[in-house]
Symmetry: C2
Subunit: 433 residues, 2 copies
């Protein structure tokens, strides 16, 4: 919490590389770094870009204030000339990338950072932290949103992840298609709608379940959601409707065989005249459990653990690689493509890239096309990369709903097999031109 800026969300080697480059005279060589991933998590059909808005905030706040500089000096992490350089640092380069909410595939140039080597290399760690975390959560959220169809999804995973990762996870989940969150900090920071029910502790605090329900309805009104699985579900539902009347907002079931219970509780509610009372289910749900409840009379899903941990894939494998750089300092020096070449498998393709999603005759996406030369005319209208930062100034701020809407549209433009939950290959091939 008390890290004074985003500048320390940085691996030490970024600063020592800077120091060495300042000394060797290469620090001001114009450089292009790209963020991409060599593969999707096993079995996944598409990735979801999330965190771009947070990246823009982080770049703006990436300043070496006196607290940071004092620390670097005291720890002798870099020398005096480097400290002086850092004191004046702000990013003055350009950033382009896939807009937030867009889908991506192996090799998609998700983000491109262009500036001097010195100014661009420093951003590596914080950019990857944000994109790798947020995109992992958004990908899981997107699959859950597909499984849930029109039913709302409530993010309630704060207790299962780091307290600030939770806030970012709520944001990413919203981009991926979630409706609301239990996390008040996410409501505060990102204006995501917050919702809540109650816990077993509230029932246990009272002398009877009846007392607890009465207390909750008295205070929060009949539209509240009552938790009905502390003792006996059938008895709890009867008591709930007795106390709140048929206008009771919802009941929540948090344990047991949700499929069976949902049917039974729906029948009971209908019999009691509470036909409009909704059923919310929670309890270690993931996209498969959500899909298995598609035919059950469930009105909303609350999802925690599996959402904030990326449903088996808690991080993406995005990397930040130098793909081109000039041979000398200065903004006009020509760029040369560069790439690691050893035998280890971690090779990459050099050169500053464009990307386009080629549609077939019916307008359905059929390939992710990535290239380093000129963009073919027939792909010009299908380009994916937009300008985010120009000369250090953020030019692409947008409300979170824009990213959420963009994701829904991007997913809808993929072949139908994209939304199968079963394991498979990426739904689009990546072609290199």
């Amino acid at each position: 919490m008390d890290v004074p800026s985003t500048a320390l969300f940085t691996d030490r080697y970024e600063l020592t590389m800077l120091q060495a480059a300042l000394r060797s005279g290469t620090a001001d060589r114009r450089s292009v770094f790209e963020v991409f991933t060599r593969r999707l998590p096993e079995g996944r059909r598409y990735g979801v870009v999330a965190g771009t808005g947070r990246v823009l905030d982080a770049v703006e706040n990436f300043r070496f204030d006196s607290g940071v500089l004092d620390f670097l000096a005291a720890q002798r992490i870099v020398d005096e000339p480097t400290l002086a350089w850092l004191a004046d640092y702000r990013f003055r380069g350009d950033i382009w990338g896939y807009p937030e909410g867009e889908v991506y595939f192996p090799g998609s140039p998700i983000l491109r950072v262009e500036g001097t080597f010195a100014e661009a290399v420093l951003l590596e760690t914080v950019i990857l932290s944000i994109l790798n975390h947020d995109s992992a959560v958004a990908a899981a959220a997107s699959r859950m949103a597909v499984a849930a169809g029109d039913r709302p999804l409530i993010e309630m995973g704060a207790r299962r992840t780091h307290e600030l990762a939770a806030v970012a996870a709520s944001r990413a989940a919203y981009v991926g298609g979630f409706t609301s969150t239990s996390d008040l900090a996410a409501g505060f920071r990102y204006s995501i709608p917050t919702v809540g029910t109650s816990a077993h502790a509230f029932t246990l605090l009272h002398d009877s379940e009846r007392d607890a329900f009465t207390a909750q309805v008295d205070s929060l009104g009949g539209g509240t959601t009552l938790l009905v699985d502390t003792y006996d579900v059938t008895e709890a539902v009867r008591t709930a409707v007795e106390i709140a009347g048929p206008e009771l907002g919802a009941v929540r079931i948090d344990s047991g065989d949700l499929l069976l219970l949902a049917h039974r509780v729906r029948q009971q509610l209908d019999d009691l005249g509470a036909a409009k009372t909704k059923i919310v289910v929670t309890s270690d749900l993931d996209e498969y459990a959500i899909a298995s409840l598609a035919a059950a009379p469930v009105d909303a899903y609350g999802v925690g653990t599996q959402l904030v941990t990326g449903s088996g894939h808690p991080t993406c494998s995005m990397v930040y690689k130098l793909v081109a750089r000039a041979d000398e300092a200065g903004p006009d020096a020509p760029l040369r493509a560069v790439a690691k070449k050893s035998m280890g498998g971690k090779t990459s393709i050099g050169g500053r890239k464009w990307a386009a999603r080629r549609p077939d005759a019916d307008g359905v996406a059929e390939a992710e096309v990535v290239g380093t030369g000129p963009v073919p005319a027939e792909l010009a209208d299908h380009r994916l990369i937009t300008e985010l930062v120009r000369g250090g100034e953020v030019v692409a701020r947008e409300p979170l709903d824009a990213a959420r809407d963009r994701h829904a549209a991007a997913r809808a433009g993929l072949p139908l097999s994209a939304t199968q939950l079963s394991r498979g290959e990426p739904v689009l091939p990546t072609e290199y031109l």
Copy 2:
């Protein structure tokens, strides 16, 4: 970053339960909440308590300042009487728990929060966020530390997780046995030693690998670590020793067959007279990969993704449950054990608990004993729960090294099979008295 206190790292229902309890007159009933887990992640032999120090900070900073209260009022999350109550809130109760670094098992009462229902229920989300995240990372770190033996472990996973989760992950990794971190924010916040090497981008920035190595050695000295796998490893090692001399600190290998390369590079370094130059390996390591390199001439391991994502288990399943409460308000009202009782499987054992680790005749732990009555005399010296907060004041602050040392000692006191990496049952049974 700009969430004004820890008070919003809270699920909305904590506040609405508070409101309903204030209205029903049950808010001041003395209550005992316990944190525990029903199971370890599949195959794991023990858990590691981490984050306790962060919990103490979070409890101290859990205040509803005007920014928070304005938000809650504007969003109509709670009513006026509740807002007034929150404005005066600070936790004035008691917290006991397993000290940080201690190991735990299913059912271990890891933390106990005692106070009025109102003051204790509010802390649920933030306490679970911290313990679930940090303990997951520490458990992975501990297994890696076992696999690494005496060789140092460098935490370098910041880019693979949320930027602030990364700082907490560094801290938890240090508790679990890691030696240092690449994350400057973790160095700043927790004084964990920071280290760094360099990236492929630094080599690619220069006109040749020779230029890059020269730049690095000129600036950072011959004790630096040179990255040797950008082009050809054998050639890079030769160049590295040529430039830095036999006093070269270390070389880093970040791709390829690490076992083969480590042997080959060691031989080459020795042949070049650089017998003291160390070999650092990095590249998607986990505890199994580390163990597989035990016989290789490796001097240090850098670990990223698998560490910060808990090596397959990115969160623990710790819960925060009301286990006892009074029937009326007041500090002296007797407590009654309570527990959820429905058929869903999520049942728990009521009552305020003690815990002890029973040693066998040789002093090796043989059981985790948890009870609700008096502590048997023969277990009195083996109790696990210590006082952390008394009447709202933190009484158990300690340096991070104390937790790190405690973990090493606790792990050493377990049966030998605890440190097998293979999947198995918890190494100690939990007995309930």
